[in-house]
Structure formats: structure tokens, C-alpha cells
Amino acid sequence: MSEIFTLALVFSTIRLATPLVWAAIGGLYSERSGVINVALEGLMLAGAFTAAAVTFYAGSWFIGLIAAVMAGALTAAVLAVACIRFGANEVVAGTAINILFLGLPAVLSGALFLSSGSTPQIPQENLIPAFADVSVLSVLALAVTLATWYVLYRTPFGLRLRAVGENPEAADAAGVRVQRIRYAGVIISGILAAVGGAYLSVGQSSLFTRNMAAGRGFIALAALIFGKWRPVPTMLACLLFGFADAVTIQMQGVAKLPSGEDVPVQFVQMIPYVVTIVVLAGFIGQSRAPGALGVPYVKER
């Protein structure tokens, strides 16, 4: 066992949890405003592809990251207009965005790089820097979590965001512009999820590959629910899922059956998903969602 639980495992956990934290904290802004965000996966992919493509051309991860943020905000704005302005079903609209970003990067990379879904390799010096194996974005993820706590509980915007998510009619009666707050919540979620995506392509890796989010958007959503829509517990939930992922990687080829053979790799790779199911099935009953989550606010006029 000592081969598995090492200091490397701690760093691995942080690395793997980082994109989850960005996406889950992003999702928190949207869901606290009352808009279900199943599009986190698509928003991450949008961020990941844009970051890789722009970094490749511009030769700077910073410009790539800014572009990713803009792509995330734009994509989220589309989702927001569909759900808030036109009252589209939030799950359906979010799923559409997820499907869109399975295909769109493939089309664009074909046009830009004559490849079938991935961007070219980006030189090491142009990637997001890391210190002692910890990426800048990992540190910022912690900062964003704490800042989100402050925004939510210590600013007028946070108070309005929470009120709109719990009881939009009451917020409206109190003079709060419900739609505006919801737009802000969804667009912030797009920005943060896209940063999580950028971390995948130009932080952890050095290129974009097709579907590189690989379900992390959904795991982030699970972490948000497990964290009861609160910033710090949500981050801890992300660390739990990141830890499960890290253990999986460390165990491959190490864990042995009693017969002396390796545990089949497929079983080891099941661990994060089993953890997700167990955690959600076991604890979700105690979790209370924002009162108006998924309920469009349409006024009789």
C-alpha cells in the first residue's frame, strides 16, 4: 500500500481536482441563481479548445486563457438567453451545448490544423506555469473558492443571487431585477468552467484532444450537489473526487489479486465513478437545493 499513498498522490490529487473546482464553483453561481447548469461539460470543452488553439497561435498561455474565458462567457450567454429569455428547458438546452462541443472542436481543428479533433502540440514554455508541481490555476482555484464564499455571503450581489435562486418572485417584489442576476450567474459559470477547461489543455496537458473533459463537467456537477451548493464543501467534494482519480492512476499495475496477477485495469478505472455513485446515492438525501432551481421565472404581464 505504501507504493500507492505517497506525496506524489497528494500532488496528483490537487492536479486532478483543479479543473473540477473551477467547473463546480462556476456551476455554483448558475445554480444558486436558479438555473440548472448541465452544460458545464460543454463549457469546459469550449474553454479547453479555445485555450489550446489561441495559445498555439499567440504563443502565450495568458492570451489563450483570456480567449477561453471569452469563449466560455459567450457560450454561457447563449445558454442563458435560451433558458432565461425564451424559457427553454434547462436540461435540454445544457445537453445541446454539451453535444455541440463534442463536435465543434473537431470541425474547427479540421479547418485550422487539418487534424481530426486535436490541436498541435504547444511548446512547454508556452504552457501555464507551475511551481513545485502545483499549477498557478490550482492556487487560484482555492482563491476563487474563498472569494466565492465572500461574494455569496458578504456582498449585495451574493444576497440577491441567493434570493433569486430561492424565491424569484420575492426578489422581484423587493425590487431586484431577477433576469439580470440570473444572466450574471450563468455567464460567471461559463467563465469559471472555461478556465477549468483551459487548465486541461494548456496546463495539465499540452494540446487539446477530442472530448478531453471526459465527464469532468458532470463530476463537477455531482461535487456541487454533494457540497450542498456551498463553496468550501463543494471544493472539498472536488478534492474527494480528485483523490479517487489519483488513487486509480497510482493503483494501475500496482494492485495485485491474491493469485499474484494485476487487478484488471478496467476495475481500477471504475473507482471514481463508483465513488460518485456511492456519494450521491448515500448523501444526496440530506442536500437541499436552491428553492427555485430549474424553475424559469416568467411574469404574467
Partner: protein, 507 residues
């Protein structure tokens, strides 16, 4: 202070406000009265920016005001306390009050200043409430104070109150009126929407009466009477009391012993309820809503999961404690639910389909061997009889229940339940949202059912209704029977004391 001129508002085919004019004098308490659906709330929601009028104009302090959202109305010094409170339950009192008008800067919400400001307002208007308590832990009376503080925090000069006394005990109403007078004496203006005539006469300076979306009378309170207001509201002379002969109770029909019910979250809702209802009597239950009345009726109707119930219930000597809703109906228990939209009707179903809900599995609703087919002729005949006997209008059985007015929907439910036929009637809020004409009809039918020997257990939040209909009156507080009174002799003060849990047993 506030003037509506020629305001017209349509919802689909319904003309909710038809060229109405309302003038509210500054520094007065103005009552806006009318039956349910007369358009009172619509008019005031337009003034508060919740709806926009199709035509007409609003004047505030003599100037034409463009009010499109509540945000605009608040800026003009208008505050509104809605019938259904506009509060965010998990948030604290202070958070609810400052929401949308927060002290401090955009980067930092100054909660200390907020709490201090709220304490000052609380003291000034004697509206005691803990600023740091979450809304969900407060009673409805306290929540109403929060709503008032919310408007005062926004420096409202004009307060619109929609049916503010519906959730209060008689004592709380008296306190509440004292607060309103204090506000008026400080120069604020109050508009109070209500349909309770005694309150109109007690609190208002001027009265505007509405009927069918139109203003039908503008009165000065000093120069009018309850009878005149009622005549204007209904459009004809009305009987303001229930005619009934003394009851001649027979044997015990419903016996409840030590009934305890918990909510889905495990919290106690009914605590050791024991009561008897005899054949041929109406036993009323009064109390502030939310003190277990809903749970009592639903449990007796067989709608509460069995795991949440302990105790014993018998109907006509048969133990029904373990029976489900259908078995209880078979045993003669009819149920007129408090919320006809949630429990009483399927709104998108036709009158005919609604008329057989609950008896859909037996003749005349089904035909053929084994009764697997619905019988169109049997259903139509039953529905036509029901429509005729209970005066359901319009008399078209293919119409969806949604198309009916509240009073006619209620008559449909009552007709269905009465034709069970019941030996025990459980009835909750029989005339909620029902016009005065239909109220008379419903009251007469309930009394007639009693005279035919049925036992009736009646829950009503309207104290006047509960005392007028009941032969014996129980008062519930906090899941218990707080006491029993003689409805013909008890004063509203005595009953009110029991409603708040004080007073114990009254002779």
C-alpha cells in the same frame, strides 16, 4: 397620493380591470373591497408594477408615473405586502428586509448597519422581530411584520396591503390595526384590500367597492353600513348569517383517540388529538392556519402515510385507522379538501371526468363484465344530475374544470362528494375563493346534509364561518385541541385566546 385613471387590464379573455378609477387621499387608510375575482389585487399589482396595464394611467402625488416593475414603484415610495408573503424562507429576517436595498457598498454588505436600522424601525413601530432569525422559523404573524418592515426600510410613503388579516388571530388583528393607525398618523397612506366588512368599518377612512372588474361604489366609512357595502359587492341584497335549526345529534359517528401525526421530516404535527363527532352535528375546528388542521383532515381522509400516524380512528364503530383513502370512501367518508386545485380536481379534465374521480371504478361510471370499461352514458347521466342539483355553471359537462369560476369548481367538488353518499363529511375551507352567492348555497347544503343525519367535521380559517356553521367548536393550536367553546355564545376574544394557545379550557 395615488390615483388610478381608466385602468384596463385583460388576462386572455378575462377582463380583470375595466376602466377603473381609484383615488387614494394622502394620509388616509383606504379600503379596497370586493369579492374574490373582483379585480382588487390586479389593480394594486398594477400600481406596484407587477403587472402593466393595457390602458389608463397611474398618478403618484399628482404626477403621471411610469411604473413598469416593482423597482420603479419602490423608487416612487410605494410598498406592497402581498397576500402570499414574498419572503425567502432559508434567509434571515435582516437579509430579507434589506434585499434589493442593501446598506454598504457593492463590494461589502454592511450587515451590522442593516441590523441596527431594522432594530430602530422595530422599536419605532413596535414591530418586534429578531433580525437574525431565519424566516422559516417564524410564525405567519411575525412574517407579516417582516413584510411591513421591508416596506418601511425602503421608506415607503404608501403601503398597499393585500388581505393582511387572513393569517391573524382576532388579537393580532387589533394590534395590527393599531400599527396601521400609527403609520397613518405619521403621514403615511395605507391601502388595504379585504373582503371582511367588519374590518373595513373598523379601520378605513374611505372605501372603494369593486365588482366584476369595475368600480361600483366610492364611500366614506363614516356614512355607510355593512349592509350597503355588501349590497354593492354582490349586486343584490344578501343574507349575512346562516339559517339553521338546533342540531339533534345521534350516536357517535367519528371517534378519534390519541391521534399523533408527524411530518415527512419527523416533526410532530398532531399531538394526541381525541374528538368525537356525532351523526347530525357539525363540529367546527377554528385556529390560525398551520396549526395541524390540514394534517388532521388529511389523516382522517387516509392521505397521510401510515408510518407517520399513531392512534385510533373509528367511523360508525369500524376501525379505519389502517384503511387507505379508497377503503375509507367505501366506508362513507367524503372529503372536501382545502385546496381544490391540488386535491379536489384535475383542472384539465372535463366536468364529467372530475365528477367520477374516486367513484370511477364502480357503477355507474363503469360497465360491462368485471367493470373494466368506462360507461359514457352512466357518467353523463351522473354528471348532468350533479350539475343540476348543485347549480354548476356553465352546465356543460365537456368543459374542462379549469374554465369554471372558483365557486362553480367548489360546487362540482361538493356535489361529487355529497353523492357518495357520505355518513361522515370532512370539509376544509368550504368557501375559500368562492363568491358570496355561492357561499350561501354551500352553507345551506352543508346544513341540509347535517339535518339528513350526516356527521360533519368542518375546518375553516374564517372565524365567522366556523362559528356560524358549527354546533360545537373546537380550537386548534400547535397540533393540539386547545379547547372547546359554544359557537353561539363564545366571543371572538375567547376564541382568539385559544387560537394563540393561551387560556386553556374555556367553560
Amino acid at each position: 397620493m395615488l390615483e388610478l385613471r381608466g385602468i384596463t387590464k385583460r388576462f386572455g379573455r378575462v377582463l380583470a380591470n375595466d376602466h377603473i378609477d381609484i383615488r387614494v387621499a394622502p394620509g388616509s387608510i383606504h379600503a379596497l373591497v370586493g369579492e374574490n375575482g373582483a379585480g382588487k389585487s390586479t389593480a394594486m399589482r398594477i400600481a406596484y408594477g407587477f403587472y402593466t396595464a393595457d390602458s389608463g394611467e397611474i398618478l403618484v402625488n399628482g404626477r403621471v408615473a411610469d411604473i413598469r416593475t416593482p423597482h420603479d414603484a419602490i423608487a416612487l415610495g410605494i410598498g406592497m405586502v402581498h397576500q402570499h408573503f414574498m419572503l425567502v424562507p432559508p434567509m434571515t429576517v435582516a437579509e430579507n428586509i434589506v434585499l434589493g436595498a442593501e446598506p454598504g457598498t457593492a463590494a461589502s454588505l454592511d450587515m451590522k448597519a442593516a441590523i441596527a436600522g431594522i432594530r430602530a424601525l422595530s422599536d419605532e413601530f413596535r414591530l418586534a422581530v429578531d433580525p437574525e432569525a431565519p424566516i422559516e422559523t417564524l410564525s405567519v404573524g411575525q412574517q407579516q411584520r417582516v413584510e411591513l418592515l421591508k416596506a418601511l426600510h425602503r421608506r415607503a410613503r404608501l403601503l398597499i396591503l393585500d388581505e393582511p388579516t387572513a393569517v391573524l388571530t382576532p388579537q393580532e388583528v387589533a394590534e395590527f390595526f393599531a400599527i396601521l393607525r400609527r403609520m397613518r398618523d405619521q403621514g403615511r397612506t395605507v391601502v388595504i384590500i379585504t373582503h371582511k366588512l367588519s374590518e373595513v368599518l373598523a379601520i378605513s377612512d374611505d372605501i372603494t367597492v369593486m365588482r366584476d372588474g369595475r368600480v361600483v361604489g366610492v364611500l366614506s366609512t363614516r356614512e355607510t353600513s355593512a349592509a350597503e357595502i355588501a349590497r354593492l359587492m354582490v349586486g343584490r341584497e344578501v343574507l349575512l348569517r346562516v339559517d339553521k335549526a338546533p342540531a339533534t345529534p345521534g350516536g357517535v359517528r367519528l371517534q378519534v383517540r390519541d391521534l399523533n401525526v408527524t411530518g415527512p421530516d419527523g416533526s410532530p404535527r398532531l399531538r394526541g388529538i381525541s374528538l368525537d363527532v356525532r351523526a347530525g352535528e357539525i363540529v367546527g375546528i377554528a385556529g390560525v392556519e398551520g396549526n395541524g388542521q390540514t394534517e388532521l383532515i388529511e389523516t382522517l381522509a387516509g392521505l397521510t402515510p401510515r408510518a407517520q400516524v399513531t392512534g385510533r380512528v373509528t367511523v360508525g364503530g369500524r376501525d379505519v385507522t389502517r384503511m387507505n383513502a379508497r377503503e375509507r370512501r367505501e366506508a362513507g367518508v367524503a372529503h372536501i379538501p382545502e385546496d381544490r386545485h391540488r386535491r379536489g380536481l384535475v383542472l384539465s379534465f372535463s366536468l364529467a371526468e372530475n365528477a367520477i374521480l374516486g367513484v370511477h371504478y364502480r357503477r355507474p361510471a363503469v360497465a360491462g363484465a368485471g367493470g373494466v370499461m368506462l360507461d359514457g352514458h352512466g357518467i353523463d347521466a351522473r354528471t348532468d344530475a350533479l350539475i343540476r342539483d348543485f347549480d354548476v355553471r356553465p352546465p356543460q359537462r365537456a368543459l374542462p374544470a379549469r374554465a369554471l369560476s372558483g365557486g362553480n369548481q367548489q360546487k362540482l367538488v361538493i356535489g361529487r362528494e355529497f353523492s357518495l353518499p357520505p355518513t361522515l363529511l370532512l370539509v376544509s375551507q368550504p368557501t375559500r375563493g368562492v363568491d358570496i352567492g355561492a357561499i350561501e348555497f354551500i352553507h345551506r347544503r352543508i346544513v341540509a346534509l347535517r339535518d339528513a343525519g350526516c356527521a360533519v367535521l368542518l375546518v375553516s380559517a374564517e372565524l365567522e364561518e366556523a362559528t356560524a356553521l358549527s354546533d360545537r367548536l373546537l380550537v386548534m393550536h400547535d397540533g393540539r385541541i386547545a379547547g372547546e367553546v359554544d359557537p353561539a355564545r363564545a366571543t371572538s376574544e375567547q376564541i382568539g385566546l385559544l387560537m394563540t394557545g393561551g387560556g386553556g379550557q374555556t367553560p
